[in-house]
């Protein structure tokens, strides 16, 4: 199940419109579909569809209030991505530090 969830996460973030929606919700807090559509540059049905994909990936959650649906970000869902980047980023940075040190010693 974790595997499937992770695949959904990366698919969700592979689209620039969805990333922009997610970033907006992360920055501005809870917003409704109409407000999100105003700046998304795509139609309201398209925004709703993108939000559905983000929701499936666990990146957003929604709340109904009368006829309106409000969305907010769930940045915790990014954990696999951040862990992965942290792991390999740190691994190679450390190796490059060692390489730099070795190259200095090779001069002598």
């Amino acid at each position: 199940m974790r595997t499937a969830a992770s695949a959904t996460l990366f698919k969700a973030l592979g689209d620039p419109t969805r990333r922009a929606l997610f970033e907006r919700l992360s920055r501005d807090g809870e917003l409704n579909v109409r407000v999100l559509t105003d700046q998304a540059g795509v139609s309201q049905p398209a925004v709703s569809k993108h939000l559905g994909v983000l929701k499936q990936a666990g990146l957003v959650r929604h709340r109904r209030d009368g006829r309106e649906t409000f969305y907010c970000a769930e940045p915790k869902a990014l954990a696999p991505l951040v862990d992965w980047m942290g792991y390999y980023g740190a691994f190679w940075q450390e190796r490059f530090d060692k390489l730099e040190d070795l190259l200095k010693r090779m001069d002598q």
Binding site: R19, F22, E23, D83, W84, M85, L99, L103
Partner: protein, 149 residues
């Protein structure tokens, strides 16, 4: 520099770039000679010959037996080196990626770009790393998103 990319096919890559004040010929030696790799990477039986299979071996840690099984894929002396990077090759959760090192001469020395790519999104095991808490997460979110391109 440190970046992460999500490709259209859902594979990802990590990219590290750094400039070294040394000529490409020298950096190349450090990238390809066994005893020099032993110094900055890990104990190994590497040879810069296309098709050569090798191993990097280090101390086992949690979720990793310390072995990277590699195969040389591309050798362009002083310019480009690529090898397969396999972790947990004997297990069902094998993680295969490709490490590509590109050397570009600069006025001061050598620009080295490392790209590790080809991870599948289901390679959950490879995510093992630091435990990120909520606070750190929120703080780094904008920066993180700026790098997800």
């Amino acid at each position: 520099m440190n970046a992460i990319a999500v490709a259209a096919d859902n594979t990802r890559s990590v990219i590290i770039e750094r400039e070294f004040p040394h000529p490409p010929e020298k950096v190349w030696r450090a990238l390809t000679q066994r005893e020099l790799l032993n110094d900055w990477m890990m104990p190994n039986d590497f040879q810069a010959v296309v098709g050569h299979r090798f191993e990097f071996r280090t101390q086992p840690v949690a979720n990793w037996d310390g072995v990277v099984a590699g195969e040389v894929l591309e050798v362009q002396p002083h310019t480009r080196l690529a090898y397969r990077w396999g972790v947990g090759a004997d297990s069902p959760g094998a993680i295969i990626s490709v490490v590509t090192l590109t050397l570009t001469p600069t006025a001061k020395g050598t620009h080295l770009r490392l790209e590790q790519s080809g991870f599948r999104p289901d390679q959950e095991r490879n995510y093992q790393g630091a435990n990120y808490g909520w606070q750190r997460f929120l703080g780094g979110l904008e920066k993180l998103l700026a790098r997800i391109e």
